[in-house]
Symmetry: C2
Subunit: 396 residues, 2 copies
């Protein structure tokens, strides 16, 4: 016996994605990068803004004591203040630095929040389709992820959530704009869920948290707005990163921002800060804290994503694919012709088009296109998309 049995099981379970990744790498080797149309990864391709680069260089050139040193585990006070001011606007609430902990990305933020609140066996609910790393994150801290099926058009199904309620429900994760569907949950839809959670909190005598995972908050089109959750639900916590809006996913910079109206607010924040330390994150990267504190409210050029979305939507509609045109993120979530997402993804693979089957988001029957790729990849893929479609829908 060498490694952990549980991790060994997980490794076997995640071999599907690795296999897909390896198949993609082999295809690229065989046909060349330009002849493989890889829509599988959410790695933003719009470069960071010039102001980010300038800000980092300015900080590096400045004379700042302990520039790269430890700071309080919650982060630099000036960074927390800058973030709090932005969160106040986003969440239409009065948020100060006490609400904010700087983190190693949204992945780090989610883990320290879940570790802070989960007791052994607790359930964490999420509406499908969803990012499946949540399952690992809940499991890391003794919890269990439970997937709740959505209504039509991927809306939250408050009735389904109500049926799942129990004393062991610790939190609901909300990811809006949603990966993979691009869905932005409306205020009405959110309120229907929050009513259920408030009733269950009273009934079971525990604070059920709503964890808003919103790295795509600023990647929205057609004037769409992402509703503020803080005024609607007290026990709410934002976890997010600058990975998507500033195209910095490799730098691991994000934050936790808790609603000042949350139950036992001080305990909650002290727990989050403690967990940031004891999980080994210790603190968010210092230089990136300094940089993002000067870049609040900035985003990369979102119009590029909008243009790519429109390009894809127009052509895929023309071919006959069925999907809702999303108002946010850089994903399209499309009905798999024939209904079998894995089989259809295989058909696309034969055309050297790489997508992720919806089963990877707890939503079989669909597939995800991540369109943060070059225009030539999009244009080059169309004939493959058409061929695969026609193979399945000969008589559609």
């Amino acid at each position: 016996m060498a490694i952990s049995s549980h991790i060994k099981e997980m490794m076997e379970g995640s071999s599907f994605i690795r296999k897909m990744f390896e198949t993609g790498a082999k295809l690229k080797e065989q046909y060349g990068d330009d002849n493989v149309y890889d829509f599988s990864l959410g790695n933003p391709d719009v470069p960071p803004i010039q102001k980010f680069t300038d800000t980092v260089i300015k900080i590096m050139e400045e004379d700042i004591p302990a520039k790269h040193g430890y700071m309080a585990n919650a982060g630099f006070s000036f960074a927390r203040k800058a973030v709090a001011a932005q969160v106040s606007k986003d969440q239409k609430a009065d948020v100060d630095e006490q609400s904010v902990v700087m983190t190693c990305g949204a992945g780090g933020a989610l883990n320290i929040v879940l570790k802070s609140i989960l007791n052994p066996g607790d359930r964490v609910l999420v509406s499908s389709p969803c990012f499946m790393e949540y399952k690992f994150y809940a499991d890391n801290h003794g919890g269990k992820l439970e997937i709740i099926k959505p209504k039509e058009n991927f809306e939250l199904d408050a009735d389904a959530f109500e049926k799942a309620m129990g004393a062991d429900v610790a939190a609901v994760i909300l990811n809006s704009p949603n990966n993979p569907s691009g869905k932005i949950y409306s205020k009405e839809n959110l309120n229907s869920l929050f009513e259920v959670l408030k009733k269950a909190s009273d009934k079971y005598g525990r604070s059920i948290y709503v964890i808003c995972d919103e790295p795509y908050r600023n990647i929205v089109f057609d004037g769409a707005e992402v509703p503020a959750v803080f005024p609607l639900y007290n026990n709410s916590i934002v976890v997010t990163s600058y990975s998507k809006n500033l195209s910095l996913p490799g730098e691991r910079i994000g934050y936790v921002a808790a609603n000042p109206a949350a139950d036992d607010f001080d305990d909650l924040m002290n727990a989050v800060i403690l967990c940031n330390r004891i999980m080994g994150f210790v603190n968010a990267p210092a230089l990136m804290q300094r940089a993002v504190s000067e870049l609040q409210g900035e985003t990369v050029d979102i119009s590029v994503y909008q243009r790519k979305r429109d390009l894809l939507c127009e052509e895929l509609s023309r071919i006959g694919y069925e999907f809702e045109k999303p108002k946010g993120t850089f994903y399209l979530f499309i009905k798999a012709p024939g209904g079998d997402d894995a089989a259809f993804a295989d058909l696309l693979l034969k055309e050297r088009v790489l997508v992720v089957p919806g089963s990877g988001f707890a939503m079989p029957g669909y597939f995800r296109i991540s369109y943060c790729v070059e225009d030539k990849t999009i244009k080059g893929s169309f004939s493959g998309f058409e061929k695969a479609f026609k193979q399945v829908c000969k008589n559609c």
Copy 2:
């Protein structure tokens, strides 16, 4: 009920350190920063080398595709290669990039390694005195830290380790040069432990890992060398960071390097990479990976620490304090006059001198001085050290 009961307990347990921190902050407010002599934190005060700053600026100015983007969870291939070349020298072994995973500091590295190897209830052994965050790190992944008392002069006590062996021992953490004692374990002393571990591995049929936590490997004086562990013990893993040798603790950059001779090497590395991802680290900060890959073998000006050590050792010896002059780190670990470390730390506090009682390192009867502070702090503290000493040792 709001937050996790286990975390709530931990918060209550760690209130001692918080209280000390708060007392220090109050003292500084009351008497001014210059009149408080704070030796409590291991935050390097020697600035990073100019080459670090130049390298970061150069990288920021270069045109590099996806400069701040995701890479493989293990890190950039070029960074892993650069680290592997350095580890090959440090460990006198032939190490390639397959052995290396870039991490968010040594804290991140330790956590992903422990998660990779621990089964529920497993024990992780460590010789005291030791960094007590290890306790949290083991606990995070269902393990238990067990402290083994050292021999005189803080040497590893192989007999004591032998008595502690059992089927549930998954790993031993070795921290050399040691925080807080500054001890460098000799090759002979290490071998005495490794013999025990090899026998126990055979007896219990499991791979017992030696995790070498060595961020102070390059902070050594008087020509001291830290022995290579890879040639001595196959199931060995280095976890470390650039926090101390490059004075970058806030940037969270480090690595895991596993011995290529380790049992089930591929499984082990795949587990470490998976855990880096699923714990929410995802990958080590991209810009710092790029920077340190060009700074292998570099260190800050170590002579500054040596000078501070000598300044303190000379004066504290003169006063009458008892300690071994350490050959590494930037810590002194001193016998508490009177034997009660907490009481003596309180006496020093009255002289506005902040130290950490040995109880905080599982070694009561001592206290730790962290001398990565300004010279004026060192010089200003001497009269306080003398007064406190004389109060306890009136008749010494």
